[in-house]
């Protein structure tokens, strides 16, 4: 028997959230945590969670699985279980709508804030803009982000300042456009980030790296942004506006 505990909260019925215990036979073959949630939902249709692609590319089912953020659909039960026990909670730090479903507005706001689109006002050629394979390689490890929020919601700095600290996911995307040779707004992008909170609340805790289900490294991207800020003109204002060193 597996001992499963799932965070439950229905705003219409529950004054406070609680952990609900489910007992279920251990499946004969290894399944994913998402499959397990589906099994539980067959018996308890009131259990709510997001899911879509069920193969780790859409980013819907980020959740805290035995204390570690990950995607339920690509986390094998055998890897997640501690003995026979499994605790599943919503991603930490964001408001809970219901059960395992969190309100991701703050997360998306940070994403939109970094202007996550290519900026190049020159008249495009009739064909594509050219980019060498080496320059294109600079985008690897950046563009693959699926916006699941596993990284940002594992980050204590984001928990503390979700409105002002851009957070690892959006900073990874900020760097994705800073690194793109086709983008011509590097200076204004850096200017937008040149304050004490947007980037510099990252203290290299590296939870983001540990949490990313796609094996990406937001911490490294943030380091690159910090370097660009320090080398660029934008860095001068940072300390002055805050009074404390970043």
């Amino acid at each position: 028997m597996l001992n499963i505990n799932i965070y439950r909260y229905n705003p219409e019925q529950d004054k406070f959230p609680y952990m609900m215990n489910y007992e279920i036979e251990k499946p004969e073959k290894d399944i994913m945590v998402l499959d397990l949630l589906h099994l539980l939902k067959e018996n308890d249709p009131s259990l709510s969670f997001r899911r879509s692609c069920r193969e780790g590319v859409c980013g819907s089912d980020g959740m805290s699985i035995n204390g570690k953020n990950g995607l339920a659909c690509i986390t094998a039960l055998s890897d997640a279980l501690k003995g026979d026990r499994l605790d599943i909670r919503p991603l930490p730090g964001l408001p809970v709508i219901r059960d395992l479903v969190v309100d991701m507005t703050q997360f998306y706001n940070q994403y939109e804030k970094i202007k996550p689109f290519l900026q190049n006002d020159t008249t495009p050629p009739e064909q594509e803009r050219l980019q060498s394979p080496a320059d294109r390689d600079k985008l690897d490890g950046l563009y693959e982000c699926i916006l699941c929020a596993c990284c940002s919601t594992s980050c204590p700095s984001f928990w503390w300042n979700p409105d002002k600290f851009v957070g690892p996911a959006a900073l990874l995307q900020a760097y994705r456009f800073l690194a793109d040779t086709r983008d011509l707004e590097k200076d204004s992008r850096l200017d937008d980030l040149a304050d004490p909170f947007s980037v510099y609340r990252c203290h290299g805790i590296m939870n983001c790296v540990a949490a990313c289900p796609k094996g990406l490294n937001p911490n490294k991207a943030i380091g690159e942004i910090k370097t660009m800020l320090l080398k660029g003109k934008s860095s001068k204002n940072i300390i002055a506006s805050d009074g404390v060193t970043a």
Binding site: N10, P11, E12, Q13, K41, E42, P45, S46, S48, F49, R50, R51, S52, C53, R54, E55, G56, V57, C58, G59, S60, I74, A76, I97, R98, D99, V101, D103, M104, Y108, E112, K115, P116, F117, L118, N120, P124, E126, Q127, E128, R129, L130, Q131, S132, P133, R136, L139, Y143, E144, I146, L147, F177, D180, R182, D183
Partner: protein, 595 residues
């Protein structure tokens, strides 16, 4: 939400254009409309980047003359017509292939991170069914790729540019049913916010169905869990026709047991299939192009190998996709996502071991019939009649560029070319005063019936077991190979399943993020799509493209060189002529299809 909802107690949100679905087709349409100044909204049941376009891997096929400077969109058109087994509309295919390059370059200008050749141009790889010089010049390499994550890159790029243009999104809103006025025009939808449960009448002059496919009618599919044919379900319930619904593509390489897609790009890069005896069996079925034959051809060959006892594994019920000979460098640079998926779902590292694969339901060639502007039409007394106010684009639509079998890489092209075309057309039509009359309160109440019935249910069937029954039925009777007597049994079973699905019991009546309610409504959409599929398949007495019948093994051009049109009102099937009149060239006449 336990009280009866009616036109008087829900709010109305008014738009010029409404796009149902936030995948590639929907977001390409909305992008076009965002620039127009029209008031538009994208209604998506998931946050847009969770849409199924994200799972597309191998690429977008288009004659951009990068891998081959002499490439020609007419060659692409020839391949597509042949791949479709000659029931794709040639005017639409001509439009898609000739407009394609412009649409792909636009995506690049928007920032899509395509892989590159050394000269800096977009990387293109070979895909199945591709040729040079109208089939006479050997294999082409025409599929533009961002590694093996092209769909992800495309979807995110479109979302990003919609942010840039300030598009309006109703995210995590579920569209329940179309609203029609007394003249049978579509005037919007009934929808509810999944987060709050609030129901609203979304009123619009133009409603675009961009709801994607419905692969979840089958038990084994590469499709996301959200691919439940919601748009088609709504239009069928409204009495509008569906075209070519018997045509479902089974992708040769779904991961055995899990169903996840393994891109055709694997074979494009040099991978190949082997049977239980280690034989590269596609050499026997398609001596010229082998593993890069049309998907229908490869899928059938695989099933025959398995049926004849030459499968792999203990149960001999799958075959292997061999990639290890390509080497770690190629696999890691060109197919990194596949390596990841294979390790997660098949527990094999393709650098060392072959991936176990089986043909898996992948794509709906049929859908709501449209012209190249995205205008939906239906059939009244054997005449095509456009439905004012209703549009469709992408997999939900049947324009028809894929006919009886879609070529790999053509779905992403379909999305952007026809998403864009629909946006342009709607903009033009609405700015020149086109539009529809408002629906009355009783029209709106009609569209609320299904939701009310579910919300008021006090007994009935559970959603999950009925869904399983449906999927098993479709898998058993309407799979890669089909036979009349089995399909008749399937159609009968579906009648029972429909009865159950129309009487579901929603035990949880709560408002906030009630996924049970969504799943029940989705199941009812799946049933509509499954029924249209089953009846269309039963009636087409021939084998063509993806529709392969044991009892009618040959293609029958005398009787069936036509579209099938399913009428949901009396559940009948009629025939519609295929377009053989491209604008700038001679049509490609039907011929024997060999690879």
């Amino acid at each position: 939400m336990t009280n009866i909802i009616n036109a008087n107690n829900i709010k109305t949100l008014e738009f010029d254009a409404l796009i149902i679905g936030g995948g590639g087709a929907g977001m390409r349409t909305s992008l076009e409309l965002a620039k127009s100044g029209l008031k538009t909204a994208v209604v998506s049941k998931v946050f847009p980047t969770r849409s199924h376009t994200v799972s597309a891997q191998g690429g977008i096929t288009c004659a951009i003359q990068s891998a081959d400077p002499n490439d020609d969109w007419r060659w692409h058109m020839y391949d597509t017509v042949k791949g479709a087994d000659f029931i794709g509309d040639q005017d639409a295919i001509e439009y898609m292939c000739s407009e394609g390059p412009k649409a792909v370059f636009e995506l690049e200008h928007m920032g899509l991170p395509f892989s590159r050749f050394d000269n800096g141009r977009i990387y293109q790889r070979p895909f199945g069914g591709q040729s040079k010089d109208f089939g006479k010049g050997g294999q082409a390499a025409r599929t533009c790729a961002a590694a093996d994550r092209t769909g992800h890159a495309l979807l995110h790029t479109l979302y990003q540019n919609n942010i840039k243009e300030g598009s309006n999104f109703l995210n995590e809103w579920f569209a329940v049913d179309l609203v029609k006025n007394s003249k049978n025009e579509v005037t919007g939808v009934i929808a509810f916010s999944i987060e709050s449960g609030e129901v609203a009448h979304l009123k619009a002059q133009a409603t675009v169905l961009a709801t994607g496919g419905a692969g979840r009618i089958y038990a084994s599919t590469t499709n996301a869990l959200i691919n439940t044919g919601d748009g088609l379900g709504m239009s069928l319930r409204s009495g509008f026709a569906a075209q070519d619904m018997e045509m479902w593509q089974f992708h040769p390489t779904g991961i055995y047991g899990a169903g996840s897609l393994v891109t055709e790009g694997c074979r494009g890069e040099g991978g190949y299939l082997v049977n239980g005896e280690g034989e590269r069996f596609m050499e026997r079925y398609a001596p010229n192009v082998k593993d890069l034959a049309g998907r229908d051809v490869v899928a059938r060959s695989m099933v025959l190998e398995i049926l004849e006892g030459r499968g792999c594994g203990e149960k001999k019920d799958h075959v292997y996709l061999k990639l290890d000979h390509l080497g770690a460098d190629v696999l890691n640079s060109k197919l990194p996502g596949i390596c990841e998926l294979s390790k997660t779902f098949a527990h094999v590292d393709p650098v060392y071991h072959p991936i176990p694969v089986v043909p898996t339901c992948h794509y709906m060639m049929g859908g709501t019939p449209t012209n190249i502007h995205g205008q939906a039409f239906t059939r009244i007394n054997s005449e095509d009649v456009t439905v004012p106010g209703l549009f469709a684009a992408g997999e939900a639509a049947c324009v028809s560029v894929h006919g009886a079998n879609r070529l790999g890489g053509n779905s992403l092209l379909d999305l952007i070319v026809f998403g864009r075309a629909a946006g342009t057309f709607i903009q033009k039509e609405l700015s020149s005063g086109g539009g529809v009359e408002s629906a009355s309160n009783s029209d709106i109440d009609n569209s609320l019936e299904r939701l009310n019935k579910l919300n008021e249910s006090s007994s009935g069937h559970e959603t999950a077991p009925v869904k399983k029954e449906l999927q098993t039925c479709m898998q058993n009777y309407f799979g890669v190979f089909r036979r009349g007597e089995f399909m008749e049994k399937g159609v009968a079973e579906l009648e029972e399943i429909r009865n159950k699905a129309e009487n579901l019991y929603l035990s949880d009546k709560s408002a906030a993020f009630n996924t049970s309610r969504v799943e029940a409504l989705e199941l009812q959409n799946l049933v509509e799509v499954a029924e249209a599929t089953a009846i269309s398949a039963l009636h087409r007495n021939e084998s063509r493209g993806a529709h392969a019948r044991d009892d009618f093994p040959d293609r029958d051009d005398d009787n069936w060189l036509c579209h099938s049109v399913f009428d949901p009102n009396d559940k009948s099937l009629s025939k519609r002529v295929v377009n053989f009149a491209p604008k700038t060239m001679e049509a490609f006449p039907p011929k024997v299809r060999v690879y």
